[in-house]
Amino acid sequence: MVRRLPPKDVVIVGLGWTGSILALELARAGLEVVALERGPWRDTATDFNIGTTPDELRYSIRHELFLRPRQETVTMRNTPDQLALPIRRWGSFLPGNGVGGAGVHWNGQTWRFLPNDFKIRSNTIARYGDKALPDGNHIQDWPVTYEELEPYYDRFEYVAGISGKAGNLKGATQPGGNPFEGARAREYPTKPLTQGYAQDLFTKAATERGLHPFPRPSANISEPYTNPYGCRMAPCTFCGFCERFGCANYSKSSPQTCVLPALMREPLFEARTECEVTKVNLSGDGKHATGVTYVDSQGQEWEQPGELVILCAFSFFNVRLMLLSGIGQPYDRDRDEGVVGRNYAYQSAGGSTAFFENVNFNPFAAAGSLGAAVDDYNSDNFDHTNLGFVGGASITCAYTNGRPILYRPVPPGTPTWGSAWKRAVKDNYQKVTSVGAQGSVMSYRDCFLDLDPTYKDPLGRPLLRMTFDYKNNERKLSDWMSDRCDEIIRAMGAKTTQKTPIRGPWSVIPYQTTHNTGGAIMGDDPKTSALNRYLQSWDVPNVFVMGASAFPQNAGYNPTGTVGALTYWALDAIRDRYLKSPGPLVQA
């Protein structure tokens, strides 16, 4: 039996970065806010003890911080004519679970997308013509510009204490920063991380090749910092336990370090953990959300009425909840219409790895965002004429970790076990570095999310099905970027190198990246987007949907900086406009 609870002003689904920021700001605006989180409570002092956190087996191999596939997973196929099968052990990507969400276990690379990324369709057509766009694409301009988002990028970066070096302050190029970035109003809140030997080699080689290297913007921060919420952070100790781990040193920006200490003091806020929202409830005409239904850890079903429902789950699960609740028209690939599930995208990759002689790169002295980068080959910072692809990549020389179980680089041809393998591990641990490209993925008619017709979760609800493979555009991009990476690493002094472009169909098995985007995208046209420019559902105006599910396609960067900026952008729209006059903020 469903039990009905007293109503709240705001119901937030998922207590990660976006949910905690909105909860804090809306509670401070005087609203009663409840956040429903299906995973456990976690805080730094209790759960990320420095004595126990650097445990690679527990966290990295056994996936302690991630969603249990038994609780919910996704099914996957490469093409629409295949049968999708459920992912039973996470591999390619790692959806988070619990308070803090993916903001707990990320590496911390915190980028702003480039001005061109928001206008990629119209700019590409203007510069290269209609034919430059890949076959079957759904590429769309974003409904916001970089200039509109700049103050919101700024707010997120100052809450998170991001370490970096500005390359463009109010239009003036700054030495040492990224000269291609959009103009920023002020410097990063903290100075860049100290780089290692490999990054120094990269910086020198890239500079000699006429490129423009800079330290990668990092949420593993470089110096003590107090954010605008009064939350405090300590400098990173380069322990190299970032991605897949919670930070025990108060050094990695996360909801735990940057938002929750302030949020949990708010008397108008309540968090309920281990409560899985099963549905957003709609009024009879389907145009108004009345609240949500959720199941607690005892199996009890509750109805939580609310005036405003904000979906702040991981991208997949925002999309699935919309599909299960009937918010917006589901995307239909065959007829190429509908919006929920449309434009799923990911991240492309490429690079070159090399084994050096007589060096000690000390890969264990690492941080999730330690690295030097160049943006000369990102977005439209270079001429795409005759290259056969659109988009670009950020290129980086980085060490995120040198951990004992998974960091075992050996040269090609080494046996995979036995004494020869052991010897090669020992001989090469200090000698390997790589230059990697993290590339954009465009959106296509054939890459999408919908409900699986076969597989269900333990509550009997259909799983989300993803249909995705890299298209020729991304494969050409990956080949071309791998060549550029190879040129740089050779200039760093490598004699033999191994290029690592995309080969074969996209696979769910090896880890690649958890940058799963799209499916509930923002746009100017309700026929091709699920959300308007304020992340508000076109169809149910008291539902807002945060996160990377709103990206029309993905850029050559990690998504969190843009997710944070969109959250503050939506917050201002909700607080300053929606609350004064609830209803659609954009007329369709």
Binding site: N49, I50, G51, P224, C231, A234, P235, Y250, P261
Partner: protein, 411 residues
Amino acid sequence: MKRLLLLAALLAGAARPAWAVPDEYVQIERGRALATAGDCIACHTPGGRPSFSGGRAIETPFGVIRSANLTPDAETGIGAWSADDFYRAMHQGRRPDGTHLYPAFPYPYYTKVTRADTDAIYAFLRTLPPVRNPVDRNALPFPFDIRASLIAWNAINFTPGEWQPDPARSAEYNRGAYLVDGLGHCGACHTPMNLIGGSKDSEYLQGNQIQSWIAPNITGDQLVGLGSWSVDDIVEYLRTGRNAKTQATGPMGEVIEASTSHMPDADLRAIAAYLKERGAAGPTAPAPLAADDARMTAGRSIFTDTCKACHVEAGTGIPFLFPSLAGSQNVQQTDPTTLIRVVVSGTKAAQTGAAPTGPAMPALGWRLGDDQVAAVLTYIRNSWGNRAPPVSAGDVASVRKSVARASGTPN
């Protein structure tokens, strides 16, 4: 605040004409602020129960005493008390019927509070919702259960009398003295006790062990007291729970969370001014151990492996997050109890509105043996200019036992 105004208006409005409301409001709010300064809520509110409804177990060297219900419930609270009764309890440690209260209720300090102030606290307590919560107030074992024994105790340890200002001192100093020596009852924890639990006046505010924590010396002593703290350092510590040198934790963390972080800055400045000006007293510092002493070299190795990432090589920590060990009063207290328990069991810093991040010191007792804890503490107590007696494995073992006993966990 809106709710409070409404409550005040309702209470006052029921009995009196509307014009009386502002006066009553001011009196109640003054009482609320004074009750906050006295940290009454700390003892009189057990976890999870309504404020001031009593029943919290107070550990004393003589057994556990449960605190009184201060809500205006006629039967189980102080609903039947008059303002005179309340003043008598504060001033003389006696109930309306004349029986003696135990000095776990710090009337030897509260006796200094003025009548006007006790009346305001009384007025505030009358506004609380009455809560029926009968408390067994006589749980002490024989012979301490005989309340008449307090006649003799009072003769030795108690001088009744309201506080008198010192005309030779500034108004700020006098305000600080009134708060520290009276309502704030700082000495109840920070002054060594005699055998029968009375404060040793000759060692006022020179530090004391209580519930396996050290309430440190808060005189102006340079080594173990507040000598190297500025007035601003003290104010920031009391207001936020931390300053650039250190963080509050344990019982003082609770005091800051419930009391001082809600006090006006002027009162905090007065407290700081008084503590800084009233004088210094402390132990003679020992000569530091030599760096090549075996305990020091072992301690240094453990420090490097286990502590240095946060507290850094120079022992200076990270301001506002990881306390400085170099020059720390807590590290150099003669009695190492706090240090041992923090290393063995871990702890968490106070959280306040101004400083919401409450960083934790992890428990290391599960992987450091008694001799290792002793070595690393001996090292930090004798490095970077610090000077304090070495810690022995036996010291560690005994604190481990008492902490385990208090928390009910095996050691």
